[in-house]
Symmetry: C2
């Protein structure tokens, strides 16, 4: 599945989502970041709705579950409530957050970030698409900004993007685990209590273009060779601290077989269970990368330099006890009919390795998440898969969690 | 200077070159590879002309001397002969070879290669431009082939591209050294006796796309991490054998900050003084790269794989004794008036680290080259520079060498 944020395909699924929610008698609004909120009214108009949210965009080579499951589960919840004639105190909403993946526009969860007033609207509107996502027809010309992309597909809404304009009682999200713990332990539900910290950087290594055939190694300031050493080092340092460090994007210039690249830019994604650990990895890598750069080109007195830009910083998050309790109880209720001796063991608490829009909603309203197992723990890959049973379990748990929360 | 082969800028300089040569009373022909041959007739019509050749294309971030000096020196030689009313036995020609750099179309010296019947015409015509040279307006759409690019700028000539259709008595070429030997020893002329061997490969590393935040290192088949290790290893292995190994182009897919790249393609340029040494480096790297690939992803039983494609193979070349002698004598004559005790020391024999069209002409006709010093030994860089004096020396030496050869 390739449905990059704000592409024509994203427009199609958005149109479908809005029509579906209207058919289910929901009130639909679109904000300035293209977030779509659909609310099934409750008994009381004076309290905000409890939301189920996730995203419909994917990675360039993404799957059919990451994010999509969460929105579809929301739709199923509304359908089921309608079928059952179930009334709630507050309304129940479903939200499709824009560009959660950070694949086309390189800040993940950016639109829930603006809603939470953690990311300024102007910063988000001006963010440019990454050049490597070249399969987008627009990328051929100048890179699109989020604002121009929103306008192009008609999803620049007029509701201010803020938790003040679109308040929520709470935010729940069901998602595939994207990791191997549930599937390998044969467990059915993860009660997500926390999300690990991460930071995204863009780095530039500046060396010197020169001829590959006539320039001895000691006369080079090879920016790509420096990059290669940095990437190897990044894994070493991250490993040593129980963290992760990954490069997803790399560009070498000028890009000719027989010219040593004089400029390399790359993305660096550092993650770890504690905000402090991510900071430590960053600190060590800054020192290590400076040393690598300084050595490459030292022979000609023109060493490489390396520049860091922080694009995105997501500290570790702990979800809200009330929401965690609702999910915990709902999960136990849903798995109770399983034919195993101890059904409680089918549910576990878990930390999320990936970021989710729930990270930002948690800054403003009680929030928590539900994980279901996925094949091989694989995601951001076309083979991403969860069984229909597991998806149904996730939808049942979130329905119960929302009802439990509404009744609190 | 950025004048990629067969771009609009290349068309302009070609038009200028043809007009200049016609004004100098030369007969101009263009062959099926867009090579432009301009001949000043000699006394006898029954013998082929002696040629001075090089190229007018540059790297994406190239200089103003690499190749260009050789063609301009040829023009100066013809002008000087006209001014002096100098008659030669055979004609004297100047040739601009197409896409010598191999920067836009990734086979260097391809058009002299077709002329020498070492590269099939169809192979050259079908060769696609590299995707990274994105500054070309055409690269926005489908990549151009050499044939379509030749047609587009009107330089698909009708003369068959072959040494049989455009014969030469000999081929001489003057070029900046592109290395540090002459400039650092204060020497004025390099008599080029040989060219080192090189091979160009395109490699693909296939791993598995996955999430950067949820996938432990041991669960990854990170094609870019494998690449990074390969590049580090390539320098080690090449160094140990007195060879060079360089990566100029790298592309990682899908190209998203939070997806571990499942596919990386890159160029590898291996060079060494002996054909056999280059083969040894290749052999060691094939083993080393296989081992690196096998280790990355072993934890999930889906290791990376690496595939090699040989794009271009240029064995080591030894130039022709007769041509070398003509250059040697001419160089000594030109530097003889220098105010140093031993002028012979201003001239040295030298091996070329870079490939040149003379490599291919040498397969069919007596050939040799002349090097002049360049600043810092730098080329394929905008700061490439040679003094006017050194350029004049090069032009004087090649004039004398051609005349000497003509009189043999
Ligand atoms: N769930 C998910 O893949 N989110 C994208 C943000 C991240 O990279 O963690
Ligand atoms: N002279 C020169 O830069 N030629 C390009 C071919 C090569 O890479 O050696």
């Amino acid at each position: 599945m390739q449905r990059l944020a704000l592409s024509e395909d994203d427009k199609s699924v958005r149109d479908w989502f809005i029509q579906t929610m209207k058919d289910l008698k929901c009130n639909v609004t679109v904000d300035e970041m293209g977030n779509i909120f659909a609310v099934r009214p409750g008994r009381r108009a004076d309290v905000p709705a409890t939301f189920i949210g996730s995203h419909l965009d994917t990675q360039p080579t993404g799957g059919r579950y990451d994010g999509i499951l969460g929105v579809l589960a929301g739709i199923e919840v509304i359908k089921t409530m309608n079928d059952m004639g179930l009334e709630t105190e507050g309304g129940v909403g479903v939200v499709d957050w824009t560009n959660e993946e950070g694949a086309r526009f390189p800040i993940s969860m950016i639109s829930s970030g603006v809603w939470a007033e953690c990311i300024p609207l102007a910063h988000a509107h001006n963010l440019k698409e990454v050049p490597t996502v070249a399969s987008l027809p627009t990328a051929a010309s100048a890179p699109e900004t989020m604002k121009s992309a929103l306008q192009k597909i008609g999803y620049l809404g007029d509701v201010p993007c803020s938790y003040k304009s679109t308040p929520m009682a709470a935010h729940f999200e069901v998602h595939i685990e994207q990791g191997p713990y549930l599937v390998s332990a044969n467990q059915r539900v993860g009660v997500v209590t926390a999300v690990q910290a991460y930071r995204w950087f863009r780095l530039n290594v500046i060396g010197r273009d020169t001829h590959t055939g006539t320039t001895a190694f000691e006369h080079r300031a090879d920016a790509l060779y420096a990059f290669a050493q940095m990437m190897v080092r990044a894994r070493e340092v991250a490993s040593s601290k129980g963290c992760l460090a990954s490069v997803g994007i790399v560009e070498a210039k000028p890009g000719s077989v027989n010219t040593v690249p004089g400029e390399v830019s790359f993305s660096l994604d550092i993650r770890g269970p504690e905000t402090e650990l991510v900071a430590e990895v960053e600190k060590e890598l800054r020192t290590a990368f400076d040393a690598i750069a300084a050595a490459e080109g030292a022979g000609i007195g023109k060493p490489c330099r390396v520049e860091w830009t922080l694009d995105f910083d997501s500290p570790a998050v702990k979800f809200h006890e009330d929401c965690i309790d609702c999910v915990q109880q709902s999960a136990q209720a849903v798995v109770a009919d399983a034919s195993v001796a101890d059904t409680t063991s089918l549910v576990r608490t878990i930390m999320s390795g990936a970021g989710h829009d729930s990270v930002f909603t948690s800054k403003r309203v009680p929030t928590s998440m539900i994980f279901i197992p996925c094949k091989d723990g694989l995601s951001h890959h076309p083979e991403e898969f969860s069984t229909a049973d597991d998806c149904a379990t996730g939808a049942s748990v979130i329905l119960q969690a929302v009802v439990r929360y509404d009744r609190k």
